[in-house]
Amino acid sequence: MKLFSLIPVFVIGVLLLWAGQDFPKWGDVESPASKSPVSSHFIANTGVDTEVPNMVTAVLADYRGFDTMFETVVVFIAGMAVIAILRGSSVGRPRRKDHEVEAEPDLIVTNTVRLIVPVIQIFAFYVLAHGHVSPGGGFQGGVLMGASFILIALSWDLEKAMSRFPIERCLFVAAMGIVLYGGIGLLSMMLGGEFLDYAELEKILPVSREMARYHAMLGVEIGVGFTVAAIMFVLYANLASEGRLKQGL
């Protein structure tokens, strides 16, 4: 049976390799992606429209802001789904003990983590706030922030991390992230523009239209960062403890 299933794998592999020859060469200026008017428009106008040097952030948070908003909602729904599936799934089942050792948290590990977690969190804020100028942004900064809480949970135990960031607060922060993103969109709608048309925010911010888009992008990135950081920790906390939310790994 295993050998039999290898045949379609090889056939599809050969087909993909054969189709791959039609791809343009890497960095080819004649390739459809480079020749399309959309990319040349972004390359020419991003810096003029939004004053953001990092084109990727401008496209993600401004030109395609609607798309990114629902990506954030997808992350939120993923966290909700994990909670909905795991909550109560382990009721009545005895907790497996075969990989557990009763021991105090290791001194060397906890002290190293004590030193390293502030650095990770400062770096997360830097990545989030500096996403306009250098690679980074809400998703990466949020994941780094969530990872610092997971590190605390791994080196002490889940209770220690949950005492800093309880699940109820996680869910509140995650929802607030989406509310912040949608709120900036609605605010620009109320000021006379379209949904997520950040340039209209110049009416309440003491800056030009271009800089209003720049600062609104920071606002929505913070919203994305909130949601992603909280949901990453919720995912870990639920999966590591089978939804019990105590005595994880």
């Binding site: 990545v127 690679p135 994941v143 990872a147 997971i150 791994l154 870990y236």
Partner: protein, 82 residues
């Protein structure tokens, strides 16, 4: 020329790592090798100039998803059946 060798090396390593992560019986080893796969993809993207994608792959792919997979595997049987 140097970049060609680098790319070829990473791509060959990617194939080896991808096959290995399916081949091994121990799911924990499989999860860790999958993290290695993500990290190699991250290197490849950084080399191609897509630094934003490389950053996301390093944090989400090699970082969080490996931890989440390992956390899940601790509650499963370690050995895969096929």
């Amino acid at each position: 020329m140097g970049l060609e060798i680098f790319n070829t090396f990473i791509l060959l390593l990617l194939v080896v790592v991808a096959v290995t992560s399916l081949w091994v019986k121990d799911l924990l080893v499989s999860a860790v090798v999958f993290g290695v796969y993500s990290f190699l993809m991250c290197l490849l993207w950084a080399e191609m100039g897509a630094v934003d994608v490389a950053f996301t792959e390093a944090t989400v792919g090699a970082g969080i998803s490996t931890v989440v997979l390992v956390a899940t595997i601790f509650h499963l049987r370690r050995k895969s059946n096929d």
